[in-house]
Symmetry: C2
Subunit: 342 residues, 2 copies
DNA sequence: GCGTCCGTTGGTAGCGCTACCATCTTCATC
DNA sequence: GATGAAGATGGTAGCGCTACCAACGGACGC
């Protein structure tokens, strides 16, 4: 009976309270909030005043339930501490912070199974869009993405067969470019050092290999990799291994900048001169690469921009105008620095 | 009429479909999923089979609406790219990935106003718990937290007046300890270099100041700070400024490890010997500190553990047994390394 | 003057789930 | 064998919101 008292939900104002105070129907309040243009100037003002007075905030759960569509972007990345993905996520947050959309972030820990589990979970929320890192989803994941009933953007990489849309760059070309640069700079016994070896690292390695083979310099003993997660410490250790295996090494292309930094520190420690004795190239071009001594050559990747662009594409698709080009290649840039200037 | 066909929501199975297939009432399915112990072995098996067959996933929105409580942890951090908060967030994700809880992550960009806005937004979702970084909320934010109707954990710092619970350590003590270490090591003209200067950095500075004053070494010209966000590049620049202002500098306590790394690189570049001419201490003890050459003394902070502990405390509170001690001090540890070993 | 269209507003009926209470069994107790 | 307690199950009535359709009034064309 006493309807107004019997609320389960702690008595925060509902749309009906606003409607009563403004002297209009609930549905008009709903419209005023979502499509202000379709409500007369006068009522809109009254409603806004009532919203203000009551401190009304719409319940996103009720909204999602009634409209069969949550104002949520699902975002799936393999790591939260890897600066590269943190930058992508930052780009996404920055692009979405103005609008009505919330973000549901999932950490796959580089696991396909975990990705499937999260996709299943996210799908149950009927998100407005999904942004997933990488292009190597399992068949089950691809299927979930295809049937998600919302725009999907695969980010970080590009490939021939987008589920829906893609934003990224070619890691293979990046690896190739880095290696070519070392070759052009006169290095010959160029090693590849890589940790984690996720699909993107694999493709960078493939690029390295292609460049080395083309120059008739490839030797499998030049490649040192491990599935262990990347770190500066690990960079140093892998470099030691590489050097032990191949003492004539005169250059290294590193999987990423953490590894490159570890290599640089180990060179200092072992009094190996950079770039004279060893040339170093990193990947991603984190802030510290430029400041390091000597500064480290790296492939600059547009992480933040990828996040922004992914959101822009998804938003366009939601608005009904999917971009003509479903795959956006944002490229990369070789930053030449002291570590390869011999 | 044709109820089964008229679904708005794209025809994914509902709890009623599962109930029909299993030959039980909908509420029993609901119970079997949430409190399996309260449903008989036999029905539970039938229900599980039906769930499996239909690929049923409960709709979290409907759940939240009906129970007036969403299975969501709201998490508010000032930055996503700062490795320190990324680690805290990782701890939170790792602790929560097994259970039913989702995570709603908000980025305050170090802004009190943005924090209020997000708290308002998160509150409207009736989260199961809120985890917020820092202890310097605006009065409005504190108020929102107090009235959130769920456990609240303030993380990263500890202080005398928790909204509900706290997990962290004393940044003031950390700053003091770092500075005392430099003094003990024989350094005298010890500078403080800090970027961003958020409240935690301010307290580290206060700790530095206390130690310096106690040793009668304090001089305001030794302090170099900027509100600009921290970076390795900035560390180098601030160090140059500090040195220009005070050429007799023989040690620096850095706000954080990025700054410390920038200082180290600038020392290399300017051929200033570390630790002989200049001693360096960082803060947080990122992975790279140990590998750097020379390795850098730093204050190790338990970021990941803070995330895990915050979740544990929140979960306990949700289960009805709030911990006796509302404030958990996880401490810190001084890691002595080559950069202060003179 | 009448019908038609459009813009504005409101009522009704759910969205998928769970809180609450009612019902029905079973089993121990006296 | 009656009584009650405890456990298992189900029905009903919403949670707060929006999709859908109806109603209304005024502008417009013929």
């Amino acid at each position: 009976m006493l309807k107004a008292r019997s609320r389960r939900g702690g008595g925060r104002p509902t749309i009906a309270d606003v409607a009563r105070l403004a002297g209009v129907g609930a549905i008009t309040v709903s419209r005023a909030l979502r499509e202000p243009g379709r409500v007369s100037e006068e009522l809109r003002r009254q409603i806004e005043a009532a919203v203000e007075e009551l401190g009304y905030v719409p319940d996103p759960n009720a909204r999602a339930l009634a409209s069969a569509r949550a104002e949520v972007f699902g975002v799936l990345v393999p790591s939260l501490t890897n600066n590269v993905f943190a930058e992508v996520v930052r780009g996404i947050y920055d692009s979405l912070s103005d609008g009505p959309f919330r973000i549901q972030l999932g950490n796959t820990h580089y696991s396909g199974l975990e990705e499937e589990r999260l996709l299943q979970l996210f799908g149950s929320q009927r998100p407005a869009a999904l942004i997933v890192a990488g292009i190597d989803q399992t068949p089950a994941s691809r299927n979930l993405l295809q049937n998600a009933g919302c725009p999907v953007v695969q980010v970080m990489e590009i490939g021939p067969d987008p589920v829906d849309m893609m934003v990224g760059f070619s890691h293979l070309d990046g690896g190739r470019r880095a290696t070519e640069h070392l070759i052009e700079a006169g290095y010959r016994r160029i090693g590849f050092i890589g940790a984690r070896m996720d699909p993107r690292s694999q493709r960078r390695l493939a690029g390295y290999r292609a460049a080395m083979q083309k120059a008739c310099l490839f030797d499998p003993r030049l490649v040192t990799t491990t599935p262990v997660p990347s770190s500066v410490t690990l960079g140093r250790e892998l470099f030691r291994d590489a050097l032990a295996k191949m003492p004539t090494l005169d250059g290294v292309f590193c999987n990423n900048d953490d590894i490159a930094l570890g290599v640089l520190f180990e060179c200092h420690r072992a009094s190996i001169s950079v770039p004279t004795t060893i040339g170093i190239v990193g990947f991603n071009d984190l802030d510290m690469m430029e400041v390091a001594f000597p500064s480290i050559t790296s492939i600059r990747t547009p992480r933040y921009e990828i996040g922004r662009r992914a959101v822009a594409m998804a938003l366009a698709a939601i608005a009904g105008n999917r971009p003509q080009e479903r795959v956006a290649d944002l490229g990369f840039e070789l930053k030449r620095r002291e570590s390869t200037a011999r």
